[in-house]
Amino acid sequence: MKYSIFSLARAAFSGHKNWQRTWRDASPKNHYDVVIIGGGGHGLATAWFLASEYGISNVAVLEKGWIGSGNAGRNTTIIRSNYGLPGNTGFYELSMKLWERMEQDLNYNTMVSQRGVINLYHSDAQRDAYARRGNTMRINGIDAELLDLAAVKKMMPFLNFDNARFPVQGGLLQRRGGTARHDAVVWGYAHAASALGVDIIQNCEVTSFVRDANGKVTGVETSRGTIGAGKVGMAVAGSSSRVAAMAGLRLPIESHVLQAFVSEAIKPLIPNVMTFGAGHFYVSQSDKGGLVFGGDIDGYNSYAQRGNMPVMEDVCEGGMALMPMIGRVRLLRQWGGIMDMSMDGSPIIDKTPVDGLYLNAGWCYGGFKATPGSGLVFAHLLARDELHKEAARFRLDRFRRGAMIDEKGVGAQPNLH
């Protein structure tokens, strides 16, 4: 099924009743060249890049629930590449460039909207830190603009500029940043990967790894039978430790819950994605009009996919500090997702010490924006057995070597990243 203006017109004339399924719900075969555990954005993107860039289409994506039912459907849909440390800067820009061509690549409307991401600053020190980050981005060929107060006032006149404790002084703007429709990203990759022969297998939970006499992983036992594999890739952020434990691995990761929120729909207000720099609050407005926002993780280990009141209060206070007029807007929905919080706040994409098993994990709460980049570099690793040059620092052994990529500089305390 190829989508175009003509297919849309044809379907319109038949009352939109004849749309075909956009991807194939497959049953497992006995053996695949590559089996990817996890049918979220990263797993499906990896499968698509394997098939489209590296010519490996005998691939299965195993998902224990339905595709996109984990963090791919639970995020705040923000895309950006405003990172400051070597390793992150190049990787997230690679991902940003892939977002910019995603809809053409996948023949799927993922509603990529480059409406801009602005990080507000509230003190001289924070301005200096943002100027430094913006300069780092520009040196690396990424767009960044440091806005002063007048420019922010012009762009967002509705903010509270009379906040005596945390006055808005300006912001760091990345115009190419923005949002994408998260569910459409999952379905877009499923659509394009399925068309190239990738098997997407739902309700298929991996229960153990099959290993040969040398310990090499040669397949997986699942709730739908044994599936052989040349290589197995894990893309199960949130549950990485649990899946890795089946192979006897302990990871530098803790699972934490992050909440997100949507308000009732209001008239168009917020033109971009913006963050409050004096607390932790980020917000955009969906096309339906709801304010989509979030803040810090709850801060305690959790696999429960739901959070607690103190963080809800803290997040909403952040919103109120910027925009007191939203105080009477009602909260429509709130939910939680489970984050792979790594020990330095950056991801891990590497071979594991177990032969045949590859790891894509540790995305903390920044995995959505990384979806296409993660898929490309993980596919590269699986296909070529070597690290992609833009992901060469996301090694599993970097903690051992002291080569941390710690943007926030808080050390090995995952709940503070």
């Binding site: 305690y300 280990n301 103190p310 020990m343 903690f399």
Partner: protein, 91 residues
């Protein structure tokens, strides 16, 4: 989630700060690099009942050892964390 502090009674979660898994113990000085790496970076990341350290900063400022299920957030026990203060409480 509310925590029944052994000193203050039932209090809301916002009064408490989380440290993490209570199982890793700081290795003795002069131990191997492997042990230090394991202590600082590797975690069991338990899915189920886990013993962990919390700090009651908004109350008695005691360190607590809490057994909590990470799948459900159900708390099954709260006791003073091992230390000088805890030993005094135990008398």
């Amino acid at each position: 989630m509310r925590i029944v502090c052994p000193f203050c009674g039932e209090r809301e979660l916002g009064e408490f700060t989380y440290l993490g898994d209570a199982k890793p113990l700081r290795p003795a000085a002069g131990t191997s690099e492997d042990d230090v790496f394991d202590y600082v970076y590797l975690r069991d990341n338990v899915a189920g009942a886990m013993s962990e350290h919390w700090y009651h900063g908004g109350g008695c400022r005691a360190w607590l050892k809490i057994t909590r299920n990470t799948l459900t957030h159900e708390i099954s026990s709260v006791e003073p964390a091992a230390g000088v203060g805890a030993r005094q409480v135990a008398k």
